[in-house]
Point group: C2
């Protein structure tokens, strides 16, 4: 990209599949990105070195940064950077803060990654709370949902900020020329919604280019807009409901299929197709959701991330860094009219 | 049921399929319930009489009550009983208030039915806001979701009341001996949730027999509890997300199937099975959700209700009336410890 290759810190320790899987992901990404990115793999030095040694043809540009602590399930995310200053995720965030890395990727403990990023990189001026922008499947291709769980209770102004950040991400990183932004609500009319979303609708209609109004859960999966804005509570309900319904429908389809046992052999590819479908619509397999709203690039991935998902997260980090994502967000939020006073008329 | 048959008012005017479909539903229910229920069909007298005249063997016990007005899409629900006092849904609610009917059924405009019920029948003492209890599909059979859209913004105390009402409904009308009640949240731990649900969790744990803690969207469709409590905003997001994801998955499965065009004939029953599945998991086809929290029985149905859904709604009205649903709710809410003061410890 530039003469001086980009540097990405990758936290090796959080994933369900262990640090070996992360190291394999880094090797695979390094091969694919051929010299445009240098990697700092953060975590248990011995384990990382042992896994690297197991591979032949490891590309150059992968260094190890030892971190002596790891995050456990019982650690409270907000206390992590204070109680475990040498945890791999905290060290990764610190590398970005200190300019030793341009971005960091962490899989597994989203709360700890978020807390480390907010503490080390600080929120962008003008952004009140961060949001996780997660790609979810729709009939018209992936849609960006934010917030996917970073900020549970939101003010109308915070939802407006999420809309702006999601719009910048879709445009600068995902290449959508003029992204449309919908506000998740219980009906399309502006009068629908709870108190917060009704007020957010007024703000967004006045301030946010590309705002296309309220969307309902059905609209999201028809791909009616590029970016869907909601608080982290509603975002979680949408994600988990989607997961639960997909699981139920695929199971019921499987039961239908079982009635056709006499042509089992012929239907084997169909069964396989439906199994693949499950993976295709599993948002967890998309790999790599940015935490938007901090000064720097932080990409979080699901704990179950495999090599492919890790490579995907690394590529998201690379694109977001190349696009100066947080810089563009900072610039556009500064240009946003001050709406704190509660005025909400169209300019 | 008793020597004196129950009397149900049925609003004929709100459905998408017209009053003829409602009249056919009433005839079908009257045949099935053979003399245990008398019907008052409310709406345009001429249209109802004409449809009745088209059928042979119409059972006795169906009378018509003329109503000169109908609700339009543009009518604001809250103004309906004032602006259109002779609308069929208002007349239906008034019949219950005046003791001329034991319950009423209305399909189509849920908001208007709700406003009429609240205005005519008044809230049960101790119940702050009404809730709609909707059966939704799960892998373990139907689960009751409330609120499905009556009350968008809820206090913790209101969520507790919803839990109690849903529990009474599941026990007295649906025959679940000891229903379990879950609180929809973004994680299972009591510490998860937005501000309102975290407080509601404490109240429900202290006050509500059968409370089984927080449930996530995935748990709902696995049938982890009998009753799921949430505010009307989250309830709508869950329902519409479920609808959107089911639509998407079934469409994608259909595309997989299309690859097997060469055994199209053999797979025809499978296609049919998957189409039936769509209806089986469509919550709109379940027919008949009670509006809980008013003095009297009010059953609302989806605008798309066909004869089967109308018969189902009528049966729900009959069971709820026979069980004295609103009387039992009034009794149990009075027994609930006063929690207004904010105390939330287990007794």
């Amino acid at each position: 990209m530039t003469a001086d290759p980009m540097r990405l810190a990758v936290d090796a320790m959080g994933g369900d599949l262990g640090s070996d899987e992360v190291v394999r992901g880094v090797i695979s990404a390094a091969q694919e990105l051929a010299g445009t990115v240098r990697f700092v793999v953060v975590g248990d030095e011995t384990a990382i070195a042992a896994e690297l040694a197991r591979h032949r043809n490891v590309p150059p540009g992968i260094e190890i940064r030892h971190a002596s602590q790891t995050i456990e399930m019982c650690d409270k995310p907000r206390e992590v950077y204070r109680r475990k200053p040498d945890a791999s995720v905290v060290v990764s965030a610190r590398l970005v803060r200190d300019g030793e890395a341009d971005a960091f990727v962490s899989i597994g403990n989203t709360g700890a990654a978020m807390a480390s990023a907010v503490f080390m990189l600080r929120p962008i001026q003008g952004i009140d709370r961060p949001a996780i922008a997660l790609p979810i499947p729709s009939l018209a291709g992936p849609v960006i949902l934010l917030d996917a769980g970073a900020t549970v209770d939101c003010s109308p102004r915070q939802l407006l900020e999420f809309g702006l950040m999601g719009s910048v991400y879709a445009r600068e990183v995902l290449g959508k020329a003029s992204p449309t932004i919908g506000l998740l609500s219980n009906g399309e009319e502006p009068s629908k919604g709870n108190e917060v979303t009704r007020q957010a609708h007024v703000l967004m209609a006045a301030e946010l280019p590309g705002f296309s109004g309220n969307v309902e859960g059905t609209d999201v999966f028809r791909g009616k807009c590029d970016v869907v804005v909601c608080d982290g509570f509603s975002g979680n309900i949408l994600l988990k409901t989607g997961e639960g319904v997909a699981e139920m429908v695929i199971k019921l389809v499987g039961e239908e299929l079982r009635r056709f046992w006499w042509m089992r052999a012929a239907l084997l590819p169909l069964r396989r197709g439906i199994r693949d479908l499950r993976a295709r619509i599993d948002y967890r397999s998309f790999g790599g959701a940015p935490l938007l709203g901090v000064n720097g690039v932080c990409i979080v991935g699901h704990g179950k991330s495999d090599v492919d998902a890790i490579v995907s997260a690394i590529k998201v980090a690379r694109r977001a860094t190349a696009a100066s994502l947080s810089g563009v967000i900072a610039k556009e939020i500064a240009e946003l009219r001050n709406t704190e006073s509660g005025e909400g008329e169209a300019p």
